[in-house]
């Protein structure tokens, strides 16, 4: 009595390795990146991931069907989701929905399926989608939020100003205390300058120009031969003339196309090419020495480690060390601006938690025992 068996291929042992598992591992590895993104640029990333995933799966299904391939094994392998998340991580958090749609169309349709589908892509599909979106919609793709509390800082400055005004009104003009209406919106809007007026008068929207300017040229950040950066803003005609002559481009001043600031702004790219070309051939140090000699205002772009050792910063005492009971000493911005008679000082570091409880509560009319009871019950912080 013999028995027949179907054949199969080795290994004759179950294996837990699958494409889906590898893709899930990639997704898992992307989780810290997603959270870092959310931390720096906002939670819009989650919307972008959802959008990109949706479009990725739609296009994956569509192209699989067009190619006559089975849907199930290829939809379930998560490869489209990996593409979607990689793409979403490259897109600004507030990018419109159609960015994800077009990006995924090119990523899945073009870079993946036209090359033969899973595993046959020559280029990373997500990056192809990103490049297509970046080239086609440079504005939408570069609308990044600055990774620092810009609005908060400016609002803080406005708040300090408002307090000074209020004290002045109360103390010197016999006024009363006031309620301050301070939002994050208006202070940061105020630094935009005459945008609203310009728009109302001309009907034109000023577009992003990177580190350049719509009102002055030459003005930009230029890369040096040692991969550092020099910032130059020759917004006055005399400065522009001095700069162009210094770098041997005096002919531009005789050429009507570059003679005036208005004309130069129109041909900003050409002017930047000339100035940038000069700077690119020299190191940062050589550039700075040169412009110093020629009396042209130019500054290096610093990171904080360069700032703390720069002679200019040190000479002006921009950063001071303040004593701190916990840290010993802590580096802080110096008082600015400094008045000649009352320049201001650091009288003490920031108070510790609860340090002034007793003082403040007594001022509000509470007795020592009441404060003691609240502290006992854990309502007030015990130092």
């Amino acid at each position: 009595m013999t028995r027949n068996f179907p054949l199969g291929t080795a290994p004759h042992i179950p294996s837990q390795y699958t494409v889906a598992r590898i893709m899930l591992q990639v997704l898992l590895a992307l989780v810290p990146g997603v959270f870092a993104y959310a931390w720096y640029f906002g939670s819009g990333i989650f919307i972008q991931i959802a959008l990109a995933t949706l479009f990725a799966l739609v296009f994956e299904s569509l192209f699989l069907r067009l190619r006559g391939r089975p849907l199930k094994p290829f939809i379930n392998d998560y490869s489209a989701v990996v593409t979607a998340v990689l793409f979403a991580l490259c897109v600004p958090p507030l990018a419109p929905w159609w960015i994800a749609c077009i990006g995924m169309l090119f990523a899945i349709g073009f870079a993946k399926h036209l090359y033969g589908g899973l595993g046959h892509n020559v280029f990373n599909p997500a990056m192809v989608g990103y490049v297509v979106a970046l080239i086609s919609f440079p504005q939408a793709m570069t609308a990044w939020l600055p990774p620092l509390a810009l609005a908060d800082m400016i609002a803080g400055l406005s708040g300090a100003m408002a307090m000074t005004m209020a004290f002045y009104h109360r103390d010197l003009r016999g006024g009363t205390g006031q309620i301050m209406d301070l939002s994050l919106l208006e202070p940061i809007f105020s630094v935009l300058g005459p945008e609203a007026a310009a728009y109302e008068l001309t009907g034109r929207v000023r577009e992003r120009v990177g580190n350049g300017s719509n009102t002055a040229s030459p003005r930009n950040v230029y890369v040096t031969s040692d991969e550092r950066f020099v910032a130059i803003s020759a917004s006055m005609q005399v400065m522009a003339e001095r700069l162009l002559r210094a770098i041997g481009a005096g002919w531009m001043l005789d050429d009507p196309r570059y003679a005036t600031n208005a004309e130069r702004v129109k041909r900003r790219d050409e002017v930047d090419a000339v100035v940038g070309g000069f700077i690119r051939e020299r190191t940062l140090e050589e550039n700075l020495a040169f412009f110093e000699k020629e009396h042209v205002t130019a500054a290096p772009i610093y990171d904080i480690s360069q700032i703390v050792t720069d002679p200019h910063f040190m000479e002006r005492e921009v950063i001071v060390d303040v004593e701190d009971p916990e840290l010993g000493s802590v580096a802080m911005h110096n008082v600015t601006p400094r008045l000649s008679g009352t320049p201001g000082t650091f009288r003490r570091p920031a108070p510790a938690r609860g340090e002034h409880n007793a003082e403040l509560l007594t001022g509000l009319g509470m007795t020592g025992s009441e404060i003691e009871t609240l502290t006992e019950r854990g309502v007030l912080w015990r130092r």
Partner: protein, 521 residues
């Protein structure tokens, strides 16, 4: 390092253990077949002894249907492969083609024998004192006993021994590192017959002319080490060392085991003998001992019958020619859900279509798997170039590249990327997330490379023949022309001579006329 240095370094085999690249930690599944003592199953009604037992020459049948054979009688004779012997006494019923258990898709001629149940042996000639016999005699006895590599390759042992002797090997390695999951026949043999293995080791050492013997076993084999060491001590043989190596698949592969024991790699395309080593399976050693000291040819072997599709997994001492079905029956039969029958282990074994296939010398394991073991949902996907295969390949190849080359038939590239060095261990298959049957594609690719190399050699030979024929024809033509020229020359000479003679006669005639009639006086 040059060859001589490697040759000398390899003398330290087994003193320290090393690592080989890649490999896998797999679940063993060995205990289930090691619970009962190994026994012979009842005699089957019919035995079918294949005459081709390895990828080489086929033995020539020396019996005809109707012949009566005795147990141990030669039924297939062969110059460059192992001889086949009758596993039982009985009658030859037929000569026919059967599918090979260890070479998928190959049919081999086989001798079908009906046992008479008398188990009557052919007269056996034992060598009374193997220590007094010459190595040549020992090798001859290994040849006539039909001994072949029982690890699975079934390479004729006498050929290996003669080659090793010629290359002056210094160390004999006995491979007891049975690394594939489920297979436990070598472990059971080492447990039950340690003395025979040690005896075989000493005989083989004398045959190949080695100084030392290293018996390699796995660290998960428990009592085996003690059993072997006791046998070594009993034989008072100090040159035999038992070494435990860590269980990483495929450390039982010849090249991997050598790397573990010596830290050296056998050169690609080379043999262990290049660095002074020769490897035999432990079961081969025991079979050689039986052939030399008892005159018993290789007609039976330990076979593991196991897997979740078998009622009572165990090891059996099976006669060559026994149908697999008979072995499974002796183990309680199939369990419901048995879905695949594999000869060999789950990594390198071959699935067979029918359990009528007979046991050969290379069948170490009959594995019956249920549908749970082999998840059928694992459909083949495209390669996603993850590179896992390269991380586990013990031959340090790039399976991903090779796969591309083999599927696109870029044979020269595949050869340059070392396809021939693939040991078909299946590690790449196991980790491939796309479930591409890499090893079986590589096996086909290797065959193609061999065929092409053969064709290239044949073409080179044909060209040489053609060129020498052309040269011969040209030479003959030249010689003919030269002969002709010579003859013409001679002819001209002769004509000239005749003319000269003629001229002389004429001159003489003229003289005679002017001088008057000659004086006759």
């Amino acid at each position: 390092m040059n060859d001589t240095e490697a040759f000398e370094l390899a003398r330290e085999a087994g003193l320290r253990t090393h690592h080989f690249y890649g490999g896998l930690h797999l679940r063993h599944h060995k205990k289930i077949s090691c619970r009962t003592r190994v026994e012979r199953p009842p005699l089957p009604e019919q035995l079918t002894v294949p005459l081709n037992q390895y990828a080489g020459e086929t033995a020539e049948a020396v019996v005809r249907p109707g012949d009566r054979v005795l147990k141990g009688e030669v039924i297939g004779r062969c110059q460059s492969c192992a001889a086949a012997h009758a596993p039982v006494s009985g009658t030859v019923e037929a000569l026919r083609e059967v599918p090979s258990a260890t070479q998928p898709g190959i049919q081999t001629p086989a001798v079908v024998i009906r046992p008479d149940g008398r188990e009557q042996w052919v007269p056996r000639e034992a060598i009374a004192d193997w220590r007094a016999a010459s190595p040549r005699q020992l090798i001859e006895r290994i040849r006539s006993g039909g001994i072949a590599g029982l690890g699975g390759a079934v390479f004729p042992s006498h050929i290996k021994a003669a080659a090793a002797r010629e290359r002056r090997v210094h160390t004999l390695i006995l491979n007891g590192a049975e690394c594939e999951p489920y297979i436990s026949c070598d472990e059971m043999l080492m447990r039950e017959q340690p003395a025979n293995i040690v005896l075989g080791a000493r005989i083989l050492r004398r045959a190949v002319g080695a100084e030392r013997v290293v018996i390699a076993i796995e660290d998960q084999m428990g009592a085996v080490q003690a059993a072997l060491e006791e046998a070594v001590n009993a034989a008072r043989c100090e040159s035999i060392t038992v070494v435990r190596v860590s269980t990483i698949y495929p450390e039982g592969g010849e090249r991997q085991l050598i790397q573990v024991l010596t830290g050296l790699e056998v050169p690609a395309g080379g043999l262990p003998a290049d660095i002074g080593l020769v490897c035999y399976n432990v079961a081969t050693a025991a079979a050689a001992a039986a052939a030399v000291t008892q005159g018993t040819p290789l007609i039976e072997r330990y076979v593991t019958v196991t897997g979740s599709g078998v009622a009572e997994p165990r090891n059996l001492l099976a006669l060559v020619g026994t149908p697999l079905a008979h072995l499974v029956e002796a183990c309680g039969g199939y369990l419901p859900g048995a879905a695949r029958l594999v000869v060999g282990g789950p990594m390198m074994g071959f699935p067979v279509a029918s359990d009528a296939v007979p046991v050969t010398k290379g069948v170490n394991c009959v594995l019956v798997l249920t549908s749970q073991d082999i998840s059928t949902s694992q459909t083949e996907m495209p390669c996603i170039r993850c590179g896992e295969c390269a991380r586990v390949c013990p031959a340090r190849l790039l399976p991903q590249q090779l796969h591309l080359q083999v599927t696109n038939r870029l044979w020269d590239q595949a050869r340059d990327y070392g396809l021939s060095a693939c040991i078909e261990c299946g590690c790449c298959d196991f980790v491939c997330p796309s479930h591409i049957p890499l090893a079986s594609r590589f096996r086909e690719g290797k065959t193609e490379l061999r065929n092409r190399a053969g064709k290239a050699r044949a073409a080179a030979r044909a060209r040489q023949r053609f060129e020498s024929r052309e040269a011969r024809l040209a030479r003959e033509e030249r010689e003919r022309a030269e002969g002709l020229a010579r003859r013409r020359e001679q002819m001209r000479d002769r004509t000239q001579r005749q003319k000269d003679v003629q001229a002389a006669i004429e001159r003489a005639g003229r003289r005679r006329q002017t001088d008057g009639e000659p004086d006759d006086t």
